[in-house]
Amino acid sequence: MSGFDIFAIVLVLLVIVTLIAGVKTVPQGYDWTIERFGKYTQTLSPGLNLIVPYFDRVGRKINMMEQVIDIPEQEVITKDNATVTVDGVAFFQVFDAAKASYEVANLTQAITVLTMTNIRSVMGSMDLDQVLSHRDEINERLLRVVDAAVSPWGVKVNRIEIKDIVPPADLVEAMGRQMKAERVKRADILSAEGQRQSEILRAEGAKQGQILQAEGRREAAFRDAEARERLAEAEAKATTAVSEAIAKGDVAALNYFIADKYIKAFGQFADAPNQKIIMLPMEAMSLLGSLAGIGEIAKATFGESAASAAAAARRPGSVPPTGGTPPTVPPRQG
């Protein structure tokens, strides 16, 4: 085999090896860094790339897609000394392959540790209740701090989420009891308030009723008074009428009325079913006087006109011979 034979074969091999070394196909989603004699020179983007063989070599192959890291579980002591177990996830994306390759030694580990320490500092500054109820705020604060910290590495942290916050079991149990007590308290207060309200309503109803009754009595009293006034007026008129009648007629007629009323009242006493003994006042004796007066009237009447009793009845001021209501004084109820 001649030297030219060997040369030709070696040349072909050399060209093939060189081409393999110089042509780089970078897949979508990755950036490759190129180092010339170990020093970073450029970044290859996805697609077909050529590098200078023998001088350049591929350094790091950086994933440019958004990635998720699990933040491992850790114990955090809150401001009020409760120990809670916390884990989370962080989403980040590399924007500068060169910085992510050479500014930080282990990117994912760095982000993980950074996030863990920041979780401790953010949650350590909050009470347990705040920690449990302000997850969004924790996420937001973590995001701002961690994102600023990873910025020199050409990385952007898009999201940090606290997955689980687990307080110790006895604390959970105590929280459950607290919540139950809270609800029982609310229920008690509500029912007490209902009772109070109902009693107020009832008392108000009673008050209103009494007021209305009093008003009724007042009204009735006013009307009673009016009635009495009216009665007095009527009696006054009646008296006037009687006195007029007496002035015109015989004074003795007056005695008739008194006697008439007296006897009627006496009759009522007698009719009363449970009245067996009737005590008569001393003045009852004057009734006899009245009767004597009646006799005089009768004598006078019959003496003047014995022929016609009807004629006597027609005389003004006199009394009809038979009984009946007195013509001048209408019967009134008090």
Partner: protein, 147 residues
């Protein structure tokens, strides 16, 4: 085997060329395609001009090496032809878009809220709530100017 190889003569180059091209389809790496092209070219030339196998090998090596600058020239005009030009280039997609400043830019740094995350932006000092436009991107760093 060797006899058959020799008896085939220049056909070997064409066969070799097509095999390389077929391999390129199976295992994409692009350079196999050029080697195949070079082999085909050598085969076609050896049909017309009788050259020794050593010369054929040298020609193959030269054609293969020459394919690289030729490809670079051809490929140069549109290096980024893609249906999704901003794939994995999230910040570049933000170029020219307007956002409301969430925190004021003080000493050149502020924040805007894009999507459900917060981006730190650089630019001239501006009060919060101002509309700003992304004028420059560099990795994860956005530069904004008042819109």
């Amino acid at each position: 085997m060797t006899d058959m190889f020799i008896s085939l003569g220049t056909w070997n180059w064409l066969i070799f060329g097509f095999i390389l091209m077929a391999l390129e389809v199976l295992a994409p790496g692009v350079f196999l395609f050029w080697l195949g092209l070079a082999a085909l070219l050598v085969g076609l030339i050896s049909f017309g001009v009788a050259v020794s196998w050593q010369i054929q090998l040298v020609m193959f090596a030269l054609f293969a090496a020459a394919a690289v600058p030729v490809w670079r020239r051809l490929a140069r005009p549109k290096p980024d032809a893609s249906a999704s030009p901003f794939l994995n280039k999230r910040t570049e997609a933000l170029l020219g878009r307007e956002f409301t400043l969430e925190k004021p830019i003080i000493d050149g740094n502020g924040t805007v809220r894009i999507g459900d995350t917060v981006w730190r932006v650089a630019g001239p000092d501006t009060p919060a709530g101002t509309k700003v436009k992304v004028v420059q991107v560099d990795g994860a760093n956005l530069t904004v100017a008042a819109a």
